[in-house]
Amino acid sequence: MTPRSDTPDGVAQVEHPLFSAGELVADAYEVRQLLGAGGMGEVYEAHDRVLNRRVALKVIRPNIAPEYLLREGRALAAIRHPGVVAVYTMGQHRGAGFLVLERVQGLSLDRMLDERRARVERFALSEALELLVSITDVLSVVHRAGLAHRDIKPANVMLAPGGRVVLMDFGLVLPHADRAGHRSVAGSIQYMAPEALTGHVAEGAAHLVDVYALGVLAYELLVGIIPFAGVEPLDAYRSKTRAPAPRVTTLRSDVPEPLADLIGQMMSVDPNDRPHGAEAVLWQLRGLRASANSDVGARPFSVLVVDDDADMREVLSLYVRAAAADAEIETTGDGREAIRSVRRRVPDLLLLDLDLPDINGIEVCMLLRGMRLGDSCMIVSVSGRATRADVELLQQLGVRSLDKGPGLMDSLVELVKTIRAGRTAHKAARPKR
């Protein structure tokens, strides 16, 4: 249920709207117009009379269980990221539950795809990669929050001014751990993974349903078509499991082979054959995106270790070496020096202690994110005493958290391998010179 304009004048129409234009909701929100409607409810633009701003009101239909709205509200509240629509509050009006959301102005990706198709045009490879990186980046933040979106599709991606890409409609979101919820069949059939179509999502594998949908979206973005037939679940299931989708490169020759491989893997029938999460996809996409005009794949893998404890700097460096013997490792015990170092050269991986004497690790992350210096590197906090609030704040900053302790080596080695896999994909995609 993405807010979208369904009529030329930008106003959607339904037969019996849940709210009416001019209606005052919760003594604060004056309904202006219907933006979109779907099976679960409707989205309106409203004016917040108290704060004097435009907002979106998402209203759920009376026949839909209120838990959906509550789950969506809580999921949105748990994530603070420019790629996720902000939730302001939730409430009830005339018996209908509603969420008050940030009003995102823009164009949905499905509308853009429609326009391109109408003009018999495709997204340029660089443009498609840029979009995929942004969408995957948001999805990785959602997954790190312990959630599965479950309705990834172009209609739920909004392209806002300033290059902002926003993932919309968290109406089907579920925590990874919700076993019963993942057995329910819900989503958009063309983008749904085979196991989601049959309600057989394995415990802890809900994020792989999103990876599959992202693969279908990537395919569509590059070649303009969805590779599977079927509008009913059973037909779609047969189409998706009978044979793999035609390789992207058979339909578009400028797509690098590693990107075609990645999309094929993402749409694997067996979830275990897919990349193991949005983050793994993200690193490969970032590498591929950089392939056109840079030498990223040629330079050594670089790591910056920031910890005021020399023993930790030593052991972390050795752990990195265990996964990447040729890594270039720089160490410092000082947060300000870490920022200076990143300004000089952005590392592929920044391992950061949270408890630094001069400027703490969270402040370092905020400064790096604020300056957008750290966007092309993965920042990982390594702490012995991170609180839940710390971890949540770091998640919002797109920073992963690892605990100091005996499991650190395995986690770090795995992480370094994931990042390097992305760089290797990029290297393979580089044009021969």
């Binding site: 070496r321 013997a325 395995d410």
Partner: protein
């Protein structure tokens, strides 16, 4: 992890661990000195460092003991500890020292 690691890295890790174990008693002693000086914040920071590095190097007992010590020192740093709190700090320091001494001579 599946793949075999470089034996040289394994050797370096083993050597770093032995070296770290040898310095553990001095690290605990540093905390004890700060406690005697009633520098609770300094002691807490030293205990904090040690809990993380000891756990990471695989010295679990030193890690958990200094973690408990850090929590006590955190309280001491915000309000002057009473006799009971001082006794708990002394006891945890003693346990940390014993665990550090054992790390030098035996398995963690």
């Amino acid at each position: 992890m599946g793949e075999a690691r470089d034996p040289e890295i394994d050797a370096l890790l083993a050597a770093a661990r032995v070296d770290f174990a040898g310095r553990l008693p001095a690290k605990v002693a540093e905390i004890e000195v700060l406690v005697i000086r009633e520098d609770w914040q300094g002691a807490r920071l030293a205990a904090h460092k040690l809990r993380g590095s000891a756990a990471t190097y695989g010295f679990a007992v030193v890690g958990t003991t200094t973690a408990a010590l850090e929590e006590e020192l955190l309280l001491a740093a915000v309000s002057a500890p009473d006799a009971n709190a001082r006794a708990r700090i002394a006891e945890l320091s003693r346990k940390a020292r014993a665990a550090a001494d054992l790390a030098v001579t035996g398995p963690p």
